[in-house]
């Protein structure tokens, strides 16, 4: 794996006189995509704008390929090497073509180069047929495609994306995420994406950093963060759909038995019997069947009734009442096979390894 | 589209540049500029439009004529903001000179004030020889009287007449102050069918559109005398003393006095002003 293209050390950023961001260290590897996740107000946008050279940090260093942005001039030069896509498309009141070319003109690229890059990004984002249209007459999705095309036309060394899909409806968002994922991969663009949607992060990012109140509370590979949330807030935020509270009844050789609503759930972990713990089950780790399966590796198997079906793009989110609520994710296809509908009785199974136990008071297992 | 803005901007800039550079200002040399503070009556009559070009041609001096009331003209003189005055408020002029603001006050011309009013003459002043007596009648009948109220020479003259009549007109319901110039005050009087005191020149110039009649004239107290006064350059070093003297000399010169005597005859059938230069006060 190549080295870090963007490095951050001891960064402190203020808004007015209020410190809003404090990062001891952060790095982005060349060619990788980093997702910054966190609730609103956690500092994602501030961090992104600081990394993009738009905000001046109170102290600390942001460096691109080892060159620190330590002056106005350095930041201005840096801004010609990276770019940022905002939540709103922020297009100019002119044609789509002029919008896509606008950054290239600002960077004083010749007409021939501009035309070549325009053709390339217009094809990638499917806006070739819109080039002569006024940017005012675009739908939300078309406008955000134009904004992304404008950014990719610059061939930025790092692309910053600030929740670029959050203003779009679900089908538009799904199609655009596909195009963005493909383009990121094909162009091997280094990117930093702020989002509060963990599915977006899973589909686009390699690594993930969770921000809360201006600090990074956890970072690592996306799967690592999602499957091993550091605390309950991370768990809740990275999309652990089922977070339950139970009492540990036994702890035998790393296998815990936790009683929830009169039912026993087996999990891997360490805790004292009698201790109250939180635990999470990721919905994609819950499988549904009509009868108890022969799959012996799933230690947990509960009979329950479907409460609710919620479509989420190509998948369905299913809530099941089995004394406690469990959430599962199934494909539309298997939902049809199981004839899922509210009231339908099913068996929900998940492995002990899929249960992530979060101890509220972390003293060691006795 | 960007081109349109470029063209627009260029046009505006070009026009703008013309405005600064292209003003046909003979005033380029400041020492050759003369500020003449005078009364609206001399400007409104059109007399200055005839005299000023002659003076400018003769001397190469550019005259800035600021037409205001006699009161304001003298106030400008007192601050050194004018070089020469052509005014008609003798009592104030004497104070002005006595206080050291002006030099060489010279008689130029006169015409006369007249009392005008509606033909119906509700105060029955027609034929009253004394102006003060006519004012007494107006006050007694509480007929509407319009005053300039602007400290002009005409206003000063009017206040003198009220004083002579022994009447405190100000504050009375029938006594209204316009605060406007002579021409506009005459128009207000015509609209409201009121009396007013006017200089003959302005009245004659406007007569056709007014419908007001001359109801009182001929009293020596109604003389409207114009003097030219050079502002004291010793007090105000920035005053253009040479040009001021040249203008004052010009106004009392034989050539100008002749023009004054004939000005207006062609249009109104009688002169608007009577030349007085050299005559005793």
């Amino acid at each position: 794996m190549s080295g870090e293209i963007l490095t951050v050390r001891d960064l402190v950023v203020h808004r007015g006189n209020v410190p809003v961001l404090a990062l001891p260290a952060l790095g982005v590897r060349a060619g990788s995509v980093l997702a910054l996740v966190g609730p609103n107000g956690s500092g994602k946008t501030t961090l992104l704008q600081t990394l993009a050279g738009l905000l001046e940090p109170r102290s600390g260093v942001v460096a691109l390929a080892g060159e620190p942005l330590d002056s106005r001039g350095a930041r201005a030069a840096y801004r010609k090497r990276v770019t940022l896509v905002f939540q709103e498309p922020l297009l100019f009141d002119t044609t789509v073509r002029a919008n896509v070319e606008s950054g290239l003109k600002l960077r004083r690229l010749g007409a021939a180069d501009r035309a070549a890059r325009l053709a390339d990004v217009a094809r990638r984002f499917g806006i070739a047929h819109l080039l002569d249209r006024s940017a005012r007459k675009l739908s939300g999705g078309e406008a955000q495609r134009t904004s992304l095309a404008r950014a990719f036309a610059l061939k930025p060394e790092i692309l910053f994306l600030d929740e670029p899909f959050s203003a779009l409806d679900a089908p538009t968002r799904e199609a655009l995420i596909d195009d963005l994922a493909r383009t990121l991969q094909e162009t091997r663009t280094t990117a930093v994406l702020a989002t509060h949607d963990q599915l977006e992060a899973m589909r686009l990012a390699d690594t993930m950093a969770v921000l809360r109140e201006g600090r990074i509370v956890q970072s690592g590979r996306v799967a690592e963060v999602i499957n091993h949330p550091a605390d309950e807030l991370v768990a809740a935020f990275v999309g652990m759909e089922t977070v339950l509270e139970g009492i540990v009844t036994s702890c035998v050789r790393g296998v815990l038995t936790v009683t929830v609503a009169g039912r026993d759930v087996q999990a891997l972990g360490e805790a004292r019997p009698g201790e109250t713990v939180l635990f999470g089950v990721r919905p994609e780790n819950v499988t549904l069947a009509l009868e108890p399966g022969r799959d012996t590796s799933a230690r947990n198997s509960f009979r329950g009734a479907v409460v609710r079906l919620a479509p989420r793009g190509p998948i369905l989110k299913v809530d099941i009442d089995c004394g406690f609520f469990l959430t599962a994710i199934v494909t539309v296809r298997s939902a049809e096979d199981l004839a899922l509908q509210p009231g339908r009785e099913v068996v929900a199974s998940f492995k002990a390894t899929a249960v992530h136990v979060i101890r509220r008071f972390p003293p060691a297992c006795g | 589209m960007r081109r349109i803005y470029a063209v627009l901007a260029t046009v505006v800039l070009a026009l703008a540049t013309c405005a600064v550079l292209g003003t046909h200002a003979p005033a380029a040399a400041a020492e050759n500029t003369l500020i003449l503070a005078t009364t609206t009556s001399t400007q409104d009559s059109g007399l200055l439009d005839v005299l000023i070009p002659i003076f400018e041609k003769k001397t190469g001096c550019f005259v800035k004529t600021i037409a205001v009331g006699s009161g304001q003209a003298m106030a400008m003189g007192q601050r050194g903001e004018a070089d020469v005055l052509l005014v008609h408020s003798p009592a104030a002029e004497e104070t002005f000179v006595a206080d050291g603001f002006g030099l060489a006050r010279r008689l130029v011309m006169h015409n006369d004030f007249i009392i005008v009013g509606p033909g119906a003459d509700p105060a029955r002043i027609r034929g009253t020889p004394s102006a003060a007596e006519a004012f007494v009648k107006i006050a007694a009948s509480r007929a509407l009287f319009l005053s300039r109220g602007d400290n002009s020479g005409t206003h000063a003259q009017e206040q003198r007449l009220w004083k002579a009549a022994g009447i405190e007109a100000e504050g009375q319901s029938w006594y209204q102050q316009t605060g406007l110039g002579m021409g506009q005050t005459l128009n207000v009087a015509a609209e409201k069918k009121g009396y007013t005191l006017a200089d003959r020149g302005t009245y004659l110039a406007l007569r056709s559109s007014l419908g007001l009649e001359i109801l009182g004239e001929g009293d020596p107290a109604l003389a409207n005398i114009y003097h030219v006064i050079e502002v004291n350059a010793e007090r105000f070093p920035k005053a253009n003393a040479a040009a001021a003297k040249a203008f004052a000399d010009f106004m009392v010169s034989e050539e100008v006095q002749t023009i004054i005597g004939t000005f207006g005859v062609e249009t109104f059938g009688s002169p608007l002003f009577f030349p007085d230069a050299g005559k005793p006060e």
Binding site: - | T23, H24, I66, F236
Partner: protein, 232 residues
């Protein structure tokens, strides 16, 4: 009504025969007002950009002052400019009183807050992040300001119209600082006042008609540019 009809006929006559004095007055009015508008445009849009894009102590006060300035009585401006430009006043050495330049100065002071106020409103209509987006595309500060102004160009044209309309029709300050000197500082408005006071109502109406035509022509031109852009 006869008078107005006579005035219109007189106006046409004066225009068609290219009466030298009227032509001079008209051209001077146009020049003075255009220059004043241009100066106000630079100063007003500059001030609006400063106020719209920056946060600094006293900004709210400055905005309040601009908004007050939009309704500033022209005669007060005229009076203050007169006192300052008096030859014994603080800027008397410039010898500007009773010159066309003095009218330009007074009119620019009158129009600047108008243009600044309307421009500020226009700039504040733009998305808050647009400035950052432009910088993120690699713009220098000057390029950013230019693109911001270009984005607000249609409402900014309205600001120009408001400013020009304010100064070409202004009379109080023009007569005070210009002095209504024949052939030098006599503009359409001051000439109209003078002709009215002389009782030459037909000429006064003729001058008014010319003033209206002028204001209309300039605004029609700007409106045309504005609407053409909007339809694109």
């Amino acid at each position: 009504m006869d008078l107005i009809w006579e005035g219109i006929k007189r106006a046409l006559h004066l225009l068609l025969t290219l009466d030298r004095e009227v032509l001079g007055i008209t051209i001077l009015s146009l020049r003075v007002s255009l220059l004043a508008t241009f100066i106000s445009l630079v100063a007003g849009i500059g001030a609006a950009l400063l106020l719209a894009l920056n946060r600094f102590p006293g900004r709210r006060l400055a905005i309040a002052l601009v908004n007050t300035g939009m309704g500033f009585p022209p005669v007060v401006v005229g009076l203050v400019v007169t006192i300052v430009l008096w030859r014994n006043g603080p800027l008397g050495f410039l010898e500007l009183l009773y010159t066309p330049t003095a009218i330009v100065v007074a009119q620019a002071i009158i129009a600047t807050p108008i243009i600044a106020g309307v421009s500020l409103a226009a700039l504040q209509q733009l998305p808050a992040d647009l400035r950052l987006q432009i910088l993120a595309l690699g713009a220098s500060r000057a390029q950013m300001l230019w693109l911001i102004v270009r984005e607000a160009r249609l409402p900014l044209l309205a600001a120009v119209m408001a400013g020009f309309g304010g100064v070409i029709s202004e009379v109080g300050a023009a007569i005070m600082v210009g002095g209504n000197i024949k052939g030098y500082t006599r503009v359409l408005t001051t000439a109209t006042v003078m002709e009215t006071s002389k009782g030459n109502f037909d000429i006064a109406i003729a001058l008014s008609v010319i003033l209206l035509l002028l204001a209309f022509a300039v605004n029609a031109l700007l409106t045309h540019v504005q609407q053409r852009n909007r339809q694109r």
